[in-house]
């Protein structure tokens, strides 16, 4: 692979049932490219957690995935409320999710720690009232 490949998806913030569709699609694309299953799984989990976050915390956004010679980059961009204290949000168990989200099986405060665990690099850029951009890399 010499050229980089780019995929871009709109993540609908109104529909919890469809959350995760972009991640499923990316998983299919990466399989087509013949990328190692363990690498695909790491990308899938990290992106899925991020996609769910965009839906439950930020009203949706845009997901972009770039594949280059070195690995896979995932950029999740939303114009939601932003994260006031990123260090706190990264703690296992910290969650502001309301009870209705918990009854859907999310809101354990594990998403961001998971995204960090499964990727080689994570950058969180967030401004309260403006939005959040999360950039993750998984190297081959």
């Amino acid at each position: 692979m010499s050229d980089s490949l780019n995929f871009s998806y709109l993540v609908d913030g109104e529909n919890f049932a469809s959350a995760g569709q972009a991640s499923v699609q990316v998983k299919k694309e990466l399989r087509q490219l013949g990328i190692a299953p363990e690498t695909i799984r790491r990308v899938s989990i990290a992106m899925y957690e991020g996609e769910i976050n965009m839906v439950i915390h930020a009203g949706g956004g845009v997901a972009q995935v770039n594949v280059d010679d070195l690995g896979i980059e995932i950029i999740l961009k939303d114009e939601g409320p932003g994260i006031a204290n990123i260090e706190q949000a990264m703690q296992e168990g910290f969650s502001t999710a309301p009870d209705n989200v918990r009854s859907l099986g999310f809101g354990a405060g594990m998403g961001l720690p998971n995204m960090k665990r499964y990727t080689d690099d994570i950058q969180i850029d967030s401004t309260v009232g403006v939005g959040t951009t999360i950039t993750m890399r998984v190297n081959f």
Partner: protein, 115 residues
Amino acid sequence: MTINDIKNHLDAEVLCGKEFLDKEVFSACGSDMMSDVLAFVKDQAVLLTGLMNTQVIRTAEMMDMICVVFIRNKKPGEDIIELARESGIAVLSSSKRMYEACGILYSNGLQGQAK
């Protein structure tokens, strides 16, 4: 243990994925919190859950699981079954409760940790 053995042990109904009944599985996990599944599971092929929504199937797919067992007699809607079909995941429904369902499978040799 095969998916068919799980069906028999749990008195379960197969809602989709009959073609996968002969597939062998070595470990499982049980949870209603999908973010716990995403955090702690490694190589488990089976998910037992009392949660009922499309994210159960997507979580299983992200984790490369091949079988979801809905416990407490939950019958998923057609949207969930359809998604599972597309993802190649077998879906079972059992009237057992979580503790009992996990206990039965565990005592029959299905482990919590993949080797």
